[in-house]
């Protein structure tokens, strides 16, 4: 297949030996398409940075292969891989100016001086730092250093750009700015981006596809919408966004809750009959109605938490399960509910996900 930029085949990485060995990557296979903004998302220690470092060549896999454009690059050192990295710490060269930092990669590739200068200028213009070309990097702000790091990594026109939590050191406002900036750069350069983050919002807003990782394994790969609306397991459902989890049993093609109510769910097969499952429902998909309306689940309001744009309503079902509903706050700010009130709870069939184990 021609549209695959990077592929990891059964990549395994263990650190340490014997009893102390830690399996950072456990048989990970993933394909990343050309020109794609691919995000590796997961909590710290899930192996996402290890996978990135395997692609960059800073670590050698204990097992498996790394392919770039279909060619096996597993044994190539980092300086022989047409792949560049934006480091979390930026790792700018303190003894060089901004322009020298940006031109460093091309210089190491022995490109002619004129080309190095032209590309450096073009890259500095791309990240809007032309005015600071002659500065030492220590004289720059965090956001500016970030841009230099980006320009430096983009200048040699790598086949894949690896970004290791590049925005984590920036404050919120700058981070939002750089998110837009990164998307723009990716559009303009057409380079495949592999972005590592633990920030689910960052992943959802920027990525074409997300690979959610946990405990050295890829849990799910899909578009942000897929990942959010159709999480495959409890980890994904709770790590990305918030979810209500309800235990249920499959009875006659529907999910029966402990309270006795049946919910229509999608994607069941006859073998699921009688199986105990977990249902996931996003808080914003929970609708509240009057208690006596048909097809509703009776619930008691336990607590109301006002969040500004919306109000979180903590509800308790008759079997003691808790459900949180996120209601848009009306103009008055008062959701018209009070603690102890009995309400009807309605879940649309598409909103309920049956999770695997």
């Amino acid at each position: 297949m021609n549209d695959i930029a990077v592929e990891a085949r059964n990549a395994v990485k263990t650190f340490g030996q014997g009893d102390h060995a830690v399996r950072a990557l456990d048989d990970v296979s993933v394909t990343i398409r050309k020109g794609e903004f691919f995000t590796l998302l997961g909590p710290s220690g899930c192996g996402k940075t290890t996978l990135l470092r395997l692609i960059a060549g800073f670590e050698m896999p204990t097992g498996g292969q790394i392919l770039l454009d279909g060619a096996d690059i597993t044994d190539l050192p980092p300086n022989k891989r047409p792949v560049n990295t934006v480091f979390q710490s930026y790792a700018l060269f303190p003894h060089l100016t901004v322009a020298e930092n940006v031109g460093f990669g091309l210089e190491m590739l022995n490109r002619p001086k004129a080309e190095v200068r032209q590309t450096t200028e073009r890259m500095l213009a791309l990240v809007k730092l032309e005015a600071l070309a002659g500065r030492k990097t220590s004289q720059l702000s965090g956001g500016q250093q970030q841009r230099v790091a980006l320009a430096r990594a983009l200048a040699p026109q790598p086949k894949v750009l690896l970004l290791d939590e590049p925005l984590s050191a920036l404050d919120l406002k700058l981070r939002k700015e750089m998110q837009t900036e990164l998307k723009r750069l990716q559009h303009e350069t057409g380079i495949t981006f592999i972005f590592v983050t633990h920030d689910q919002e960052e992943a959802l807003t920027m990525s074409d596809r997300i690979g959610v990782m946990s405990a050295g394994k890829i849990q799910q790969i899909g578009s942000p919408r897929d990942i959010y609306t159709r999480p495959v397991n409890r980890f994904v459902a709770s790590f990305i966004g918030e979810s209500n989890f309800l235990p249920a049993t499959i009875v006659q093609g529907a999910a029966r809750l402990g309270s006795g109510h049946s919910l229509a769910v999608e994607g069941l097969t006859p073998v699921d009959e009688g199986r105990k499952v977990t249902l996931a429902v996003r808080p914003e998909q929970v609708r509240l109605t009057a208690e006596d309306e048909a097809d509703t689940i009776r619930a008691t309001v336990r607590d109301l938490v006002y969040f500004g744009t919306d109000t979180h309503c903590h509800l308790m079902l008759s079997d003691g399960e808790e459900v949180v509903a996120r209601l848009q706050s009306p103009a008055s700010g008062d959701a018209g509910l009070s603690e102890g009130q009995i309400v009807g709870l309605r879940l649309a069939p598409g909103a309920v996900q049956v999770l695997g184990d």
Partner: protein, 303 residues
């Protein structure tokens, strides 16, 4: 401007002077004073049994480079003196290069150990400092002399049939000085490498630099202050070395330090010794000036 403010300022000035007084006294009596005496002595006439006579003379300064012919009183270039100067500069320079070549990998090794074992390694580096210089030099002598450890071992191995003459050559002086001054190179290098951000290595490799180019283009420029400091700390005392060339170089392979001692001792020519000391001081200062300027220029290869 109030009178009170003026009073406060005056008090501050007084306090500042009071605080620097100890330093000034120390500088006067320990540095400038003795130097001044040496300078004055270099313009006097040698006394018959050492010491000086208070008669102004430029003979000492002329005597540094020229010798007066006893018979026709003409001045000739003093080849022997020039040889000694040249040997001193050459050996000091080579000592600096050798200590750097050995010291850099050593300092790198120590700086990349886990923090706990690092202290132990540094401690090991400084152990030779605990021993008297003379004893250390004789120890080296014991290793390299004709019947010493090295030659005995090589003969036993059958690599050589006859002992190699090392002691009483320039090579012996080099070995001795490199051994004695190595810690002075390692410690500032370690301090610089310890501050070096190892993540820059990955950045260098990532940007297509080979290991050699990472060393030359990333590591060396960044740890340069340590290299400059270490080189100065080795070069300057090497130039004035006395014990090492005396013990390992024998009488023939004199360096400036031994030559100066000769003037104050057997030759009983204190003014010439004083003038030589001042010359040594000037050589050091010129060398430092050149080195520091070259080093600061080199830090910006495109500038």
């Amino acid at each position: 401007m109030s009178a009170a403010e003026d009073a406060v300022r005056a008090a501050n000035t007084r306090n500042a002077w009071a605080l620097v007084t100890p330093a000034l006294i120390l500088l006067t009596f320990a540095a400038s004073g003795p130097l001044l005496i040496v300078l004055v002595y270099s313009f006097l006439t040698p006394g018959q049994y050492g010491n000086v006579e208070w008669i102004f003379s430029l003979d000492a300064w002329i005597g540094i480079l020229f010798t007066k012919d006893i018979f026709d009183e003409t001045y000739k270039l003093a080849d022997a003196h020039l040889t000694i100067f040249w040997r001193s500069v050459k050996l000091s320079f080579l000592t600096t290069v050798i200590t750097f070549a050995i010291g850099f990998p050593t300092a790198w090794f120590i700086a990349t150990r886990p923090p706990r074992s690092r202290a132990l390694w540094l401690f090991l580096i400084t152990i030779p400092f605990w021993t008297n210089l003379l004893i250390r030099t004789f120890a080296i002598n014991e290793v390299i002399r004709n019947e010493g450890l090295l030659n005995t071992f090589l003969i036993w191995l059958g690599v050589i049939e006859r002992p190699i003459q090392i002691v009483y050559t320039d090579v012996a002086v080099l070995i001795g000085m490199a051994y004695v001054y190595l810690p002075l190179m390692v410690l500032p290098l370690f301090a610089a490498i310890d501050r070096f951000d190892m993540r820059l290595l990955e950045a260098g490799y990532d940007l297509y630099a080979s290991r050699w180019r990472v060393l030359r283009r990333v590591i060396l420029p960044i740890v340069k202050p340590g290299i400059v400091a270490g080189s100065i700390l080795v070069f300057v005392p090497s130039l004035g070395a006395y014990v090492t060339p005396r013990v390992l170089g024998g009488g023939k392979n004199m360096m400036i330090g031994n030559f100066i001692e000769l003037q104050f001792g057997q030759a009983r020519n204190w003014p010439l010794g004083a003038a030589l000391s001042m010359t040594l001081l000037m050589i050091v200062m010129v060398a430092l000036l050149f080195y520091v300027r070259a080093a600061s220029k080199g830090s910006n290869p495109h500038g």
